[in-house]
């Protein structure tokens, strides 16, 4: 199952070593882009089971996973909440494909690398989700490629950065 997890190690967020110098904190927040702070996306194929997805969530210690199809195109997002809903009292649910419980396109809330961090924060609050996939259009093809992940944890770290950078 683990072979299904693709990580993109060159996309990372490190507290205190952001791309910008932190001198004018609130100005900084406004000019920061998603690509400056996004983290590594955790990707699973849509053919894995609910059980595989739960194990991956625990192994990676994340709140949600991005589900991609055979071509690597974003197909869905699955959260602890989605999985909890289906595992409660259904022992057999664990063998179900994750694609049956995930949130599917076009219902996935996404951001682009060039979007502002504040736009991402606004989307998470408005749509009541804890993380967003960061996506890019794929040249010459339909669909979106997942290039990162931004979460309320990212925002909490940023808030600390803002205060420390004063």
């Amino acid at each position: 199952m683990l072979s299904h997890i693709d990580a993109k190690p060159k996309v990372g967020y490190f507290l205190g070593t952001a791309a910008h110098d932190v001198h004018a904190p609130s100005k900084l927040i406004e000019s920061m882009k998603v690509k400056d702070v996004m983290g590594i996306p955790f990707l699973l194929r849509e053919t894995v089971t609910v059980s595989d997805a739960v194990v991956a969530l625990f192994l990676e210690n994340v709140g949600s996973l991005m589900i991609v199809n055979q071509e690597g195109v974003l197909a869905g997002v699955v959260s602890r909440k989605d999985l909890l809903k289906v595992t409660l009292g259904h022992a057999t649910a664990t063998a179900m494909p994750v694609s049956l419980v995930m949130t599917r396109q076009p219902n996935i809330i996404t951001v682009k690398p060039e979007d502002s961090v504040l736009e991402a924060a606004r989307k998470m609050i408005h749509h009541e989700v804890d993380s967003l996939p960061v996506v890019k259009a794929i040249e010459g093809r339909e669909g979106l490629e997942v290039v990162g992940r931004i979460t309320k944890t990212t925002m909490t770290k940023l808030l600390l950065d803002v205060a420390l950078g004063k």
Copy 2:
């Protein structure tokens, strides 16, 4: 089961109507206290079942619940993650008391109403939890009373406040 949920409606967080005026954003963050931004805690008795806890999580749309004993003293915290671990493939787990799966005192990370918001943010990042119970000592007795709840959602809203208040 719902009769077990006690909400404290007078403790609330409202975006844009914080106790302070938002004129000097980053100065503001440093001076803000947990009690200025904390939300309503959702409390369940430790005798409820795992199934009750999952239903309460969905009804209240929260990521974690505070568990209290008969005297209303904080006994534990239970998160989506704790519940997911126990519901996966164990149909009978739903009838288990929530006290078997919760994180117990003295392992619960807490903050006090007078603590700074930044201290709360730091604790959530350091201990890798998404929310913290806000607690007070109970006069003349052992244990802690839960008076609020602060989460990474609170922090994400604060980040937006900081930028909007510029």
